[in-house]
Subunit: 161 residues, 2 copies
DNA sequence: ATACAACTTGGAGCCGACTCCAAGTCAAAC
DNA sequence: GTTTGACTTGGAGTCGGCTCCAAGTTGTAT
């Protein structure tokens, strides 16, 4: 079986990242310079698609493009989790993400409280809400949740154009 | 007990949102025009602080400012979850957030795989990773996680300045 | 009275992340 | 052979979200 190759258009389709954006990522060297066919057209293969998907996923977590660089390094086929520095970065990212999940959970709490109220019943709900947005340092937790698919941002970003 | 009032500086301290940004939010009417003292200085009270905290929390979930408006409406003391339209928006936001959590979980999965490898063992890990970024529509799940505090973005945004 | 701090305003500027454009190349289809 | 379509390039423009600035006001401390 020969390795299959993709055009930038196919890469865009598969990853949900626009052609322009893929070129942009190459321009800022978030992606390595793609191989070119004789006519200069970019060629992508499986692992390039994977890398773009990874960027897309990181993007959805709100990570700035610049912050992705070390992260993507850990993904490169070459030198992997051999470097303790990378491992530390990964761990720190993991923590950040867990904290972000907490923020999200606070919003879900907020929504659930709102939804649970047939009526506000002001005094009562105000109290609870105040607590919802207070710092919850004491509580530890955060057990793994399951995996579904992306889309929070896309719900907004796919609107334009 | 008289209601306590806060200056913009205190509001900023309590919410972690800069004075400039609070003024900016008022300018774009994400916050109602704050009351002024005789000298024109802004005055904030408990519920204003709460609203700013809510914005801050929504911001951490990556929600664009414009998307917050209907959300904040649901938070206003007046008309609450009486309007079915608002309820729908809340529910839809809740879904978005759950999806975002899924994205985050994918990244955590990715990190955990990386961390778990003493060595990459290429063939093997490539396989797993491909799966991690594929669509996981089948799996349902998502049980509530606990509440801690924010900070993913802050980890980056607090760097500047 | 004068200096300082804490605010006010409108507007300009900045940065990240695209997004679009014009001009050009190339290959296949008619 | 010329038109069509999928690409290439560099660079300009856009948009969201701040962030900074200058000029002005007020209140307190010396």
């Amino acid at each position: 079986m020969e390795e299959q190759m993709f055009t930038i258009k196919q890469a865009a389709e598969q990853t949900g990242i626009s052609e322009d954006t893929i070129r942009f990522y190459e321009k800022i060297m978030l992606l390595p310079r793609a191989e070119r066919k004789k006519n200069g057209h970019r060629v992508y293969r499986k692992e390039d698609i994977y890398r773009i998907k990874l960027i897309s996923c990181l993007k959805k977590t709100g990570m700035p493009l610049e912050a992705m660089r070390p992260f993507l390094a850990a993904s490169a086929d070459t030198a992997s989790t051999e470097y303790p520095e990378l491992v530390d970065q990964l761990k720190s990212h993991r923590e950040n993400i867990m904290n972000q999940v907490s923020s999200l959970q606070q919003i879900v709490d907020f929504i659930d409280i709102r939804l649970a109220e047939g009526r506000p019943q002001k005094e009562y709900s105000d109290q609870i809400q105040d607590e919802v947005l207070e710092e919850h340092k004491e509580k530890e937790i955060i057990k793994p949740i399951s995996v579904v698919e992306l889309s929070y941002f896309s719900a907004y970003t796919k609107m334009d154009k």
